[in-house]
Symmetry: C2
Subunit: 162 residues, 2 copies
Amino acid sequence: MLIREATDEDWPAIWRFFREIVTAGETFTYPLDLGEDEARSWWLLVHPNRTVVAVGADGTILGTAKMNNNHMGNGSHIASASYMVDPRYSGRGVGRALCTHTLDWARASGFRAMQFNAVVETNIHAVRLYRSLGFEILGTLPEGFKHPVHGFVGLHNMYCRL
Amino acid sequence: MLIREATDEDWPAIWRFFREIVTAGETFTYPLDLGEDEARSWWLLVHPNRTVVAVGADGTILGTAKMNNNHMGNGSHIASASYMVDPRYSGRGVGRALCTHTLDWARASGFRAMQFNAVVETNIHAVRLYRSLGFEILGTLPEGFKHPVHGFVGLHNMYCRL
């Protein structure tokens, strides 16, 4: 698996699973009917922020990550990141590779911590992955997310010192 | 003290203390050199979000608040708000009146909680005010803010059930 910069040419392949994940409404606090143009502008970030794709041996895009500052001004030493893995390629370490990549980027860019603002508590694979990479739960917003199956569930605020 | 919708005509009066507060860099995670046009577009929100001013008996603008959703999609039942009080009119209950107003707005608008993402822990007047109105600290990002006097201090994530 290779991780490289995302390009405009990658977008159609990203959008295929991005749309599926957002429409399911189980893991992201994005509008479920998010339009493609808006999605692209939210996801494909420009320098100094960054977006990458994880690519399989045959060139297939398996997943993607964006990384950016989480606060501005006197909080601009705190990074954040988001990940989407094509559900057809889950369980192959794509999420772990992407998350590790963003932590390395944040460290190399001089950030002091990585923070996630809204991790849905029922997204247990993600929570377990983040914990295994050194993230802690700072706090959980009770009933912060209306899950389509489980109803109101908590939203974790997680962070990892770099 | 009257609290009413902010208008474009109020902006120059708001900008006078807004700029002072942001430039001081002690309480907001905004760029310290934030330009006026960007500041106005960040602060003067449009429906369904909202911005108000607190006005004294002689028409002087004493402070301002903006209120909005804090998350989107399946998190859109969580509100947020920000406040600025002209330092020349501090200690007169302006912040309390503005905060109460935003909680009332959020409740009336159907939000289920109000959440603040980045309350600087050394901003003890604000933290005390929020606590007195029912907010709890969900968690604190260690060293999340570089205070110009105190160095790295925590950033509280606070919330109040409505």
